[in-house]
């Protein structure tokens, strides 16, 4: 199955608003919690209480400093998970067919029963979106919560990824980026959403919304003093102010 479908019926993915993400890591542990008991093997942790704790997560939140030329430095929080690329190199390199891209919705998945744990797909992914589970020896990655978004055991409103459902600021959006009329596509158009490392030729589906421009408040003339208080004294000011009532 490592041939990529020529086209997918939908292009489901995430849109992440970097102007809104406060870096709370809620999506990180919500993802861990759901996937620890969901699709595939649990997400194991090594030395969970030890000196070198380490474990499998499908979504990580970075925090970057950005220094504009002549303004204060900024901090941008940056969640990173699988972008469900249209031209997913992780899929084509897979020797077993375990990695594949679904025709119906474009989700890139690992069939864990066929995964030999060679790690090649993780090498092929430019975005670090795949982590091999150290206990199970199979490759784990964001499933776009394929076991939630169609899940008939969940109420309709809950059929969205765990990370989207939990995000307190609403910085994560889920939808069909293949449909230009979808809410996510319109959001991307409106806010000039961008793809990560487009030159890597992966054609990511996920989009990021850029931080809005910052630190641009200007001194405004409308705050001119009513009069020269120094000259007229407090009484003059009082007259003038109360005259407005």
């Amino acid at each position: 199955m490592t041939a990529l479908p020529r086209a997918t019926e939908k292009a489901l993915g995430l849109v992440i608003d970097l102007d809104t993400c406060v870096g709370c890591h809620a999506c990180v542990t919500a993802c861990k919690g759901w996937n620890d008991q969901g699709y595939g093997v649990p997400l194991s942790d090594q030395e969970p209480y030890g000196a070198h704790p380490s474990g499998t997560f499908l979504n990580r939140v970075h925090s970057y400093a950005v220094q504009p030329v002549d303004a204060a430095a900024q901090i941008v929080n940056f969640p990173r998970s699988c972008l469900h690329c249209a031209d997913a190199p992780c899929v084509t390199v897979c020797p077993t067919g375990a990695s594949y891209k679904r025709v119906e919705d474009g989700i890139v998945l690992v069939n864990e029963d066929a995964c030999i744990g060679c790690g090649l797909c993780a090498w092929a992914c430019p975005y670090g979106a795949r982590e091999m589970d150290a206990a199970a020896g199979v490759m784990k990655k964001c499933t776009l919560c394929v076991d939630r978004i169609y899940n008939e055991n969940l109420p309709e409103e809950d059929r969205e990824p765990a990370c989207v459902r939990t995000c307190p600021t609403g910085a994560r959006h889920f939808g069909d980026l293949g449909d230009p009329e979808s809410a996510v596509s319109r959001l991307v158009a409106e806010r000039e959403g961008f793809a990560l490392m487009p030159d890597m030729g992966t054609k990511p589906v996920n989009r990021y919304l850029p931080p809005r421009k910052k630190d641009r408040m200007q001194e405004a003339s409308l705050l001119a003093p009513l009069l020269d208080i120094q000259a007229t004294g407090f009484a003059g000011w009082l007259d003038r102010v109360l005259g407005k009532m």
Binding site: G23, C24, H25, Y49, N151, R165, D215, E219, A224
Partner: protein, 922 residues
């Protein structure tokens, strides 16, 4: 080969139980999924008013909290020296009998010898009541080291506080200014709110020395120098006054701006002028004559001068119009350009007045005047410990409320809205009760709001009634006590010695103490007779925290999914501006260890001690357990811990106890909401419809309309005393600071740490990490992978000046201590400030972690650098002089590069284990 078939509709769980999260005080609703009786997944409850379905990182990791290997297993009795960790497991009966044997004689002879202090307790109305029945004056929860400055300044000024007691009108606000907030108790609501603003493209302004989290997404960042917010705010007020951009109508109607300040020399000077009926009055613009402040149709004159007495408004305006508050005069000290200060003032004015709007909601005020519209001003503020945790925090918080008031943005559409049972004026709160008598309960609640020196908790000889010296001249408005002073005072025998220290849920031997290393010594120090200076310590924790090793008797608690809890309107409810709300926790899984819910244990102790209200006439226990108490306890006639489903199940707020109440809460998702009626949502302190509803729903017994206090009379009373007026006089060494700090108008003075400035030029502060809760996130297998060690972040100026590089450590020296810690560079930081995440550092061996855990090897606390007393004589606590709020963020340090290292200092011995080291994850 075809595409594999994926089961896209797997069964999620066998069962979902709805309860309340506990990893912080936000108290979100959670759906706990159980499979074969085990918790398998936790998600937010969409119907819950607090979180509306979302969860934070801690909430979503709750599973790891419930399975943590650090959970205590059974009651423990110390068998070796204190701090040695030598304990034996004992039965609950033995544990309770031991506690009773220690406490009973104290109650009969000197109840104050028991000091009962609770940490981030979510059952304070219950624990406080227990302490009251015991009769000790020595009770408080954690508010004194947390944010009493916010609480008290809010109550004394607008009748409600920031913290979790109010919130911006998220739906309408267009400019949101956040001062000194990294996370706060209202974690998810603030995040949801910021998300809403962002969605609308509304503007967020962050005032904070550090630009992370909320401040990172803020459209404008003001990297203020710590401790100077008051100056910035008063400068903003200066600009607004000078430009006449203030809401005169609001000031005249809803605040004490039109009241007259007594200008006559003598004992009344500076108090609000009263008429023959002892009522304050205003000058009516229509007649130029005195009129009742609450008279119908009265148009108060802000500019009035009556018999030489001027209005509060004039005093206020005169003070802040002074060039001392001009942006140019303050810019250097606050670390922000004058032009940017003016820019912010202009933006506040523009949005408040040019983007003002009206909601077509008719309402009637307490004077009987009818209004067809509600005036909206879409500017809102929120502030927390960045302001609060300084020794000028109370006055700074007052200044911020004043800014809100002059803009007319409290309790109006688009502004800051209080959550029921607030607003509530000082007058509707109790005064402190503290007189202990052998064998007797206290006559009323411990904590309250002081109106004047006559309410101070001082004995006839002038010494404090309370071990923490709350409600004394040192900190008259200490409405939440001073938990951070309990151990140092008990150790010093100042004001007296106690016998038994009873602590609940506070890691006092580590991150919640100032000067932690010294506190550990205080806990193990012995006197000449070989007895411990603090003779007995009883502690309730759920986990193997640092504090556990220092107790003599451990009462192990359950985790949050294994017990009943009550989030009550009598305490810290989960209200929204549009609805009062309360909630419960209930055992969704059974404890698999010999542990008991602390509240049930406390009731059991109370019954064994025969405390009034906890035993029946025949001496048998009155309550089966805490669940029984929650349902059947009656605080005032018809009023119990929970407001919902009372009486026959339909009564709200007031009604008989309903045995079915908990079942109804569970059915309802674990919470209840009483909705504010239409027309009563805004202008609550003055809105007749709201006042009636508040009485009906039990917040007060009669309507309590009031005016916002620009001029604080209780404060002026203390200033008068300091000036020598009156019978009750402060000690001389406190006169000057009382005169300064108890100014009836908001003032700014430098934080007390400033004295050390020359030698210690750098401010050192901490921030809450969003994904960690104090010390106890570290036992969480998922969260500790995110924050397993901390760095001290250095601004570019220091980083470059000393040539720091990756992997370097620095020696950080304060006037009282020294630590050596890993550092990292941060450009988005005030140039005179360093900071780190709070409470990541752990003591080796605690929390069931490996002794080599990064938290213990490289992680560190700033607490070792913070002194609990100010330099100089008299053991004056390092706290706000008004409220006793711990001044954590006054800390000043010096930074020196030491190069690459591998471990932070100080290093402590491995804490002896009370539970086995954790190995695998459940």
């Amino acid at each position: 080969m075809g595409q594999p078939k994926v089961d896209t509709s797997p069964k999620v769980s066998d069962e979902v139980k709805k309860t309340t999260c506990y990893m912080c005080a936000c108290r979100c609703g959670i759906n706990v999924h159980l499979t074969s009786g085990k918790v398998t997944y936790i998600e937010g409850n969409r119907d819950h008013p607090v979180n509306k379905g979302v969860l934070c990182a801690k909430g979503a990791s709750g599973i790891m909290q419930v399975t943590a290997p650090s959970r205590l297993r059974a009651p423990l009795r110390r068998v070796g020296p204190r701090g040695s960790g030598a304990f034996e497991e004992i039965s609950w009966d033995e544990a309770l009998e031991t506690a009773v044997a220690w406490m009973k004689p104290l109650r009969e002879e000197a109840p104050e010898k028991l000091a009962f202090f609770t940490g981030r307790d979510q059952s304070q109305s219950f624990t406080g009541w227990w302490a009251q029945q015991f009769g000790t004056p020595n009770y408080a929860a954690h508010g004194g080291f947390c944010s009493v400055n916010m609480a008290a300044a809010g109550i004394y000024t607008i009748g409600g506080a920031f913290w979790e007691f109010g919130q911006p009108d998220w739906a309408h606000t267009k400019l949101f200014v956040l001062l000194g907030v990294a996370e706060d108790h209202d974690s998810n609501p603030i995040k949801i709110g910021i998300g809403k603003l962002k969605e609308r493209g509304a503007k967020v302004v962050g005032v904070n020395p550090v630009r992370t989290g909320y401040n990172a997404v803020a459209d404008e960042w003001f990297g203020i120098t710590p401790g100077t917010d008051g100056l910035l705010i008063l400068s903003l007020i200066h600009c607004l006054l000078a430009a006449g951009k203030i809401d005169l109508d609001y000031l005249a109607r809803w605040t004490n701006a039109p009241l007259l300040v007594n200008e006559a020399e003598g004992p009344e000077k500076g108090l609000i002028l009263k008429n023959a009926e002892s009522q304050p009055f205003v000058i009516d613009r229509r007649t130029g004559m005195p009129a009742p402040w609450d008279g119908a149709g009265v148009q108060p004159d802000l500019g009035a001068v009556w018999q030489g007495h001027r209005t509060v408004f004039q005093h206020m305006a005169e003070r802040y119009l002074s060039p001392d508050y001009a942006p140019e005069a303050v810019a250097d000290r606050v670390g922000i350009d004058a032009a940017r200060i003016r820019g912010l003032a202009a933006e506040l004015a523009r949005v408040a007045f040019d983007e003002a709007f009206e909601l077509p909601i008719a309402w009637t005020d307490f004077r009987g005047d009818r209004h067809e519209m509600m005036q909206g001003r879409p500017v809102s503020f929120h502030a927390m410990r960045g302001i609060s945790a300084h020794s000028n925090g109370f006055q700074t918080a007052r200044a911020l409320h004043l800014l809100q008031i002059v803009l007319g943005t409290v309790e109006v559409p688009g502004g800051y809205r209080l959550k029921p049972p607030y607003p509530k004026p000082v007058e509707a709160h109790p005064t402190p009760h503290f007189v202990a008598a052998a064998g007797k309960p206290l006559s009323g609640p411990h904590l309250g709001y002081v109106r004047g020196p006559e309410n101070l908790a001082l004995k006839a000889d002038g010494t404090p009634w309370r071990i923490d010296k709350a409600f004394t001249w040192e900190n008259p408005f200490s409405a939440h006590g001073l938990m951070h002073m309990v151990i140092p005072n008990a150790h010093a025998g100042d004001p007296y010695k106690v016998d038994t220290l009873f602590l609940y849920m506070a890691n006092m031997a580590w991150n919640s103490s100032m000067n932690s290393a010294r506190v550990m010594e205080m806990l193990t120090d012995k006197d000449e007779s070989g007895e411990y200076v603090i003779p007995r310590i009883i502690y309730s924790d759920a986990y193997a925290s640092e504090m556990v090793a220092y107790a003599d008797l451990i009462l192990p608690d359950t985790t949050y999914l294994e017990r009943h809890d009550c989030i009550s309107l009598l305490d810290r409810p989960i209200s929204e501006p549009d609805a009062a709300g309360d909630a419960i926790r209930w055992p969704v899984v059974e404890a698999d260890r010999d542990v008991r819910g602390f509240q049930s244990v406390l009731l059991d102790l109370g019954a064994r001690l025969g405390l009034p209200g906890m035993v029946k006439d025949d001496g048998s226990p009155k309550f089966k357990d805490y669940a029984d108490y929650i349902v059947t306890h009656i605080r005032r006639p018809g009023v119990g811990p929970l407001m919902g489903f009372r009486g026959d199940g339909t009564a709200e707020g007031r009604g008989e106890a309903n045995p079915d109440q908990l079942a109804r809460y569970i059915e309802n998702g674990g919470f209840y909401q009483a909705h504010v009626p239409d027309g009563a949502q805004y202008y609550k302190p003055w809105n007749a419809a709201y006042q009636e509803w508040a009485v009906a729903t039990s917040f007060y017994e009669t309507p309590q309309p009031y005016l916002f206090s620009i001029w604080s009379e209780p404060m002026r009373k203390f200033q008068l005393a300091a000036e020598g007026q009156g019978f009750l006089q402060p000690p001389d060494h406190l006169r000057d600071r009382l005169k300064l700090a108890m100014d009836p108008l908001p003032v700014w003075y430098p934080p007390f740490g400033e004295a050390a400035r020359a030698e210690f030029p750098v401010h050192a502060i901490t921030q809450r990490p969003m994904a960690m809760y104090h010390s106890w996130g570290s036992q969480n297998a998922w969260l500790r992978q995110i924050h397993g060690k901390n760095y001290l972040y250095l601004p570019t100026s220091i980083w470059e000046a000393q040539g720091f590089g990756d992997g370097d450590y620095a020696r950080v020296t304060s006037p009282t201590g020294q630590i050596v810690v890993p550092v990292a560079h941060m450009a988005a930081l005030n140039p005179d400030t360093v900071w780190t995440w709070n409470a990541i550092g752990k003591r080796k061996g605690a929390w069931a972690l490996d002794a080599g855990a990064p938290e213990a090897v490289e992680g560190f606390l700033l607490n070792h650098l913070i002194s609990e007393v100010l330099p100089g004589a008299g053991r004056v606590s390092n706290s706000d002089p008004v409220t006793g709020q711990a001044a954590w963020f006054d800390l000043r340090v010096r930074i020196e590069k030491v190069g690459p290292r591998e471990r932070a200092e100080p290093e402590f011995d491995v804490l002896p284990r009370v539970v086995p080291k954790g190995r695998t994850r459940a």
